[in-house]
Symmetry: C2
């Protein structure tokens, strides 16, 4: 299998390196042949060629079986008047590869429950899988400005088509069948026309194709509440691009260990893109402080979803669980206690791979 | 002063009744003359005259000094194919009265800290005042549908003008000066054009008119995280209509007592509208289970913001604090312990008013 690595900015390179070591060991252990090629994206790519997503990267990704991304962005490229920004590379790769579904599992690691800002009795047992629509909605809507002075007005349009809603709802409902068979769709249908179309379409798909899956609907503002006071009640959650951006970030705080959470972005065919959900953390880059576990878990998702290597994915996830059970922690999850470095953590997982 | 009461649906009437009793007692105690008139809004208004906001209500509100609202909506009026819905009344009154600023104080009651889903060490000391823009943004943007079958597409446009941003940022910055002198503006400027205009305009207003106020900017997804793991870090927060809807609801979970939180909607002149932030809770209506304290605290905000009666507002807030200190609880905040009814709670506050 051909795997493209996109290390990106900040801590991206060091965490991708650790994940690559894990994948190489998996290849050896299970007798696979993984070929890696590293490509540019984000701020470093702007610095080197003026483009956050050069054509060479797009071509390599399209020709690959799966993509592992570190992180992009940083204050260095945050100037609002800049011609282009690292995030543009991220939005473009999603669109170019048709990655319309962003999957984010929010799962608790038993050993880390006490790191959660929420009380144990609220958070214990939480296990949510989010499906965020990733190539539509207001992110890719028409935008512009008109008028001037105090009347200057800027707009951007939120749009969804029946087709776009159908495919993400289907994907989420199929995933629900593999889990607890419950799906929650989140919208703002009491105010927004695209949400009304979303709600109608989702209801029809569920009634016609998934009558066996328990289905309900929640407004986005109510969902922002529920995630805090009854997160355990949800199984699979599907929502649009903007709502998903906000809600998955909110949900990512629940386990209290952002450094542990992976995500996958998938299309209907072609390679999937896998990454940790945390950012590029330029302030700690190169200091052996980054937690590589989210990226390592993203590599496990890559094996499972893009290469159908379930056993291999399980092996990685078990190794990570064992590392935690053995009390090994990077600084971000050490709660002030003893901690090890980025490379040591990678090596610890590697050792436990069987 | 003329005060319009809009009891609305579900528990609305019973909680507004308690707040009215408090306001009447304040009038007696402090020698004011409050005249009350009750008007229709929401589902009950749809039932009685087919319109969630009849012209008579609009006229009465416009002629008043302040408005106290209970709650609107309920499953009875939730049919998505209905001609009109209770929420339409809410959106219309905001627009008709030019209530462009929704203020939501998120404050902890010491006695209720342990009701929070968050750990005490995270939440203690939290005191945030949100300013949500309420008459612009995607809520009031152009919307429509086109195409058919799988290509049917629905859209709605998010738009902000410089003028709209200026006035809400100014109002929030003035409030910051009365508090801890810190303002945070929340947007999604890395993706949305109206957010970029928002960010530029806010930065200019702050630099030109409020150089003394400490000012920073946070992305909406990051803010959804920060509210959970470091809520104490924020003083005044200003944001657009949709982001404000989601973030203020998220924040309302932090104190663990939704039944205690009031809000105010203000324009540049004319009457303000005051209400609890919780909904109409039709499932518990008429059972003496509703907590009237949020509405009573909304009445205190009404005295402070619309009638400039600071001492009177303080009297109500102190009475509420004393009720809690005396261990009196409605069911929603009793944590399974002893509780009293809606009317008893109203009477308890009344008794402690001095
Ligand atoms: C960087 C930004 C454009 C991006 C988004 O909003 O989609 C990020 O927040 C994410 O969620 O991946
Ligand atoms: C009922 C609904 C239209 C309303 C809104 O979204 O503004 C409500 O959620 C609120 O926050 O007051």
């Amino acid at each position: 299998a051909n795997i493209v690595l996109l290390p990106g900015d900040g801590i991206g390179p060091e965490i991708v390196t650790q994940a690559q070591r894990i994948l190489e060991k998996i290849a050896t252990l299970f007798g696979h042949d993984f070929a890696f090629s590293s490509q540019m994206i984000g701020g470093i790519s702007i610095d080197q060629c003026g483009d956050p997503l050069p054509q060479a990267t797009i071509d390599a990704c399209k020709a690959s079986d799966a993509i592992l991304l570190g992180a992009v962005g940083g204050p260095k490229w945050d100037d609002p008047s800049a011609k282009t920004r690292p995030e543009a590379g991220l939005l473009k790769i999603r669109k170019e590869l048709g990655l319309f579904a962003n999957l984010r599992p929010i799962r608790l690691f038993d050993q880390l429950v006490d790191s959660s800002p929420l009380k144990r009795e609220i958070i214990e047992g939480t296990d949510i899988l989010f499906f965020r629509e990733l190539t539509g909605g207001i992110y890719f809507g028409e935008s512009g400005r008109s008028g001037s002075g105090p009347d200057e007005t800027a707009f951007q349009s939120m749009a969804y088509s029946v087709r776009e809603v159908e495919r993400i709802v289907r994907m989420a409902a199929l995933a629900a069948r593999q889990r607890d068979n419950r799906l929650t769709s989140v919208d703002k249908a009491n105010v927004l026309e695209p949400s009304r179309l979303w709600r109608q379409t989702a209801a029809r798909v569920m009634a016609e194709e998934f009558p066996d899956v328990q289905y309900d609907v929640v407004l986005v503002d109510a969902m922002a509440m529920h995630l805090i006071n009854r997160p355990r009640d949800f199984d699979v959650v599907v929502t649009g691009n903007l709502f998903g951006d906000i809600l998955t970030d909110e949900a990512s705080m629940l386990p209290g260990s952002l450094g542990m959470l992976p995500s996958a972005s998938l299309g209907s065919d072609g390679p999937g893109l896998y990454e940790p959900i945390h950012g590029s953390a330029p302030d700690i880059a190169g200091q052996e402080l980054a937690n590589p576990l989210a990226t390592i878990l993203a590599a496990a998702m890559l094996l499972r979803h893009s290469l159908s290597l379930t056993e291999e994915a399980n092996a990685i996830e078990n190794a990570v669980a064992n590392v935690l059970a053995d009390g090994l922690r990077t600084k971000d999850i050490a709660r002030g206690g003893k901690h090890i470095g980025t490379q040591e953590m990678g090596a610890a997982v590697l050792e436990r791979l069987v």
